[in-house]
């Protein structure tokens, strides 16, 4: 799994951080998503896919 994020689309909702805190964080200044781990281990994949599906700005892309 390889994750990319579109910072310009991100609306700073932080839902990805709630769903997959090991993979996503938010920048302090503006809340934009910070990708902590672009190639997370298999145990985190389901949470990452959930985060991508529910991201309200469609800013998370998962490539498998």
């Amino acid at each position: 799994m390889n994750i990319t994020v579109d910072e310009a689309k991100c609306c700073g909702a932080g839902q990805c951080v709630l769903v997959a805190p090991d993979v996503f964080d938010q920048r302090d200044e503006d809340g934009i998503v910070v990708l902590l781990d672009a190639t997370p281990e298999a145990g985190l994949h389901a949470a990452v896919r959930d985060a991508a599906t529910i991201c309200p700005a469609a800013a998370i892309q998962v490539h498998e």
Partner: protein, 417 residues
Amino acid sequence: MSAARQRIAVIGASAAGLAAAEGLRRLGWDGVITLVGDEPHPPYDRPPLSKQVLSGAWPPERTTLRDPGRLAALGLDLRLGTRAVAYDPALRHVTLDDGERTVLECAGVVAATGVRARTLPGTEGVEGVHVLRTLRDALALRRRLAEPGRRLAVVGSGVLGAEVAAAARGLGHRVALVGAQDTPMERVLGREVGALLAEVHRAHGVTLYPGRTVTAIAADGGRARGVELADGTFVEADDVLVAIGSEPAVDWLRGPAAPDLSDGLGCDRYCAAAPGLYGAGDVARWYHPGLGRHIRIEHRMNAGEQGLAAARNLLAELDGERFGERRPFEPVPYFWSDQYDLKLHAYGVLAGAVRTEVLRLGEDPLRLAALYGGPDRVTGVLGIGLTPRQARSLRPLAAGPGTWEEAVARLGETVAA
């Protein structure tokens, strides 16, 4: 199971429908997934329509939710420009308006048809009168606002009306915001915070007409020229945006054995409206166990979450052995709104609060955290001008079991942390 029973139809190809289709595939449904959308476009995102698309910051393609490759990888039977016109709950048959009235035999159906913009009667076909729900709507208004020096009257001061007023001011147009409420977004934010928002709009040069109802849209030769208000005021305008709410798109579900369709598709805690029929997104009014009542949420966030939940529960109903047990859908709702350089974040349910507690953070009146609910418990929290961490830290207050007094006591330390 016959071959025809190997189909799940997702009706509605916006955020909720796409999330459901994606969820079905991801959770292991290897039968047919028919995704039906009445617009010609592949699934796209609506929140940018009233912001980035209207302002011209984004080309419309940017709203596409999944690029063609990722959409193709889902292996969908994708039917765009097609509308569902009937549903038979006993047979689980969906009828399409594709010219041949094709009947889809389904194992299960996810209804994600969303809402339609409410219009003002008598304004059909009047040039310069707009609603904003679809990409087409947004581009029509965008074309008008691409010319400089327009006068835009926005009828309705809810979330959409307030956002469009801000975007149009950003483009330098003269903007009037007419609302039956006393302050913008009052139904959601309450009067105290709504009054702050009103000041922001005024400071940016929007002319507010609060507490007014519209009696007519005046037109000359089929072209709008202004809005008449009940108190006799006439607001001159080249274009009028009607943003007075929406109606759930449930007509296709009507029939003798139809489920409860009062204010959207009535669903239980699992998002099920009937055996094999699940609702998701703006159209679904479901029983939220935590709130102890039915609720229908028109937030972008809910569309994705509920699409996924409906997919999961439908699969569990169809094959519990393979897909596990159904789970109640019990989210903490989340929404955000951008107006000028303001960012509003809210968790839980703010509307209908009987008490609010507004905590101002320093000199700037537009940095605040607020609790909504009462008399005994908090149902929602709002943050304006907070850091993301502060905004996120508010969430447990909306979801927590504590009393109103406990939440008020914790509010200060929460945002200070």
